[in-house]
């Protein structure tokens, strides 16, 4: 199973910015336990969605040659909650890109109302010491994810 927290790309500018959407439904497993009778999306999962949006933006900026992994959450602030039935929108910008890492900033809104901001740092494993430990196979941007992205491109509205 892949841990995907993005349903759709709404806007995309290679190497600059990405906007994605996640549609929250009561059918989501995690909402039954978080919390019983009060289903809200856990903030770490909101951050994961933002990191995935940013990670794909960063990965694509170097044509998916790098293993891009979340290294550090520099800042994260939440001012609201996301509940079932809402559309979460992640707006992410790539603010720094160097061979061994990158930084994105992002804002997340629920049904159009901002509920949080974050700054996230990624490490590029092939260009850090970690490259020696993790080998050649790009387990971050696998064939499966690239196929999904290709499908997303082919079904994108003009």
């Amino acid at each position: 199973m892949r841990w995907i927290w993005i349903d759709r790309f709404l806007a995309y500018e290679k190497g600059k910015s990405a906007t994605t959407a996640k549609y929250l439904s009561l059918a989501e497993d995690f909402l039954t336990a978080h919390f019983p009778g009060y289903p809200v999306m856990p903030a770490p999962l909101i951050l994961e969605g933002m990191a995935q949006t940013g990670g794909i933006l960063v990965g694509d900026a170097t044509d998916f040659r790098e293993k891009v992994v979340l290294a550090k959450i520099n800042k994260a602030t939440f001012t609201g909650e996301a509940v079932a039935g809402q559309e979460l929108v992640y707006k992410v910008e790539l603010i720094s890109l160097r061979s061994e890492g990158s930084i994105i900033t992002g804002e997340v809104s629920a049904d159009g109302i901002s509920i949080g901001q974050a700054e996230i740092q990624f490490a590029h494993l092939d260009n850090t010491r970690a490259g020696q430990m993790f080998g050649e196979t790009n387990f971050v941007f696998t064939g499966e994810l690239k196929r999904m992205l290709a499908q997303a491109h082919s079904t994108a509205k003009p």
Binding site: S96, A123, T128, R129
Partner: protein, 132 residues
Amino acid sequence: MTKDEIYQKVAGTLVEALNVDEDEIKKEAKLQGDLGAESIDFLDIVFRLEREFGIKIPRGELFPESIFQGDPDLVQDGMITEKGLKELHERMPYAELGDFDKNPELSHLGDIFTVDLISRYIDYKLNQTTKA
């Protein structure tokens, strides 16, 4: 910018990057040994210094990864070779490596990265920029 102003800004940058208290930052404080920096923090520090001082820090310039990675030309049996030491001196003309030269164990290389060393590096970079 004076050396003291540089130090103050470096200290503020390290407080943010390493999530430590201001009073933990001293000139001689080692980033790893005293301030708890991990390898991923070095990348964060580079990003923040670039932003804070408006400079470009080329890869491997502040934290020479070829030596950290144990390149066999530069490191043998856990000790930095003569060639490795020469490279360190060339890459880090702003650093005071006196004691380290006497017993250049790779495992102690992290100890040379102190708050003072980062400040000296920034001073060196800013002077280079002015000269250029």
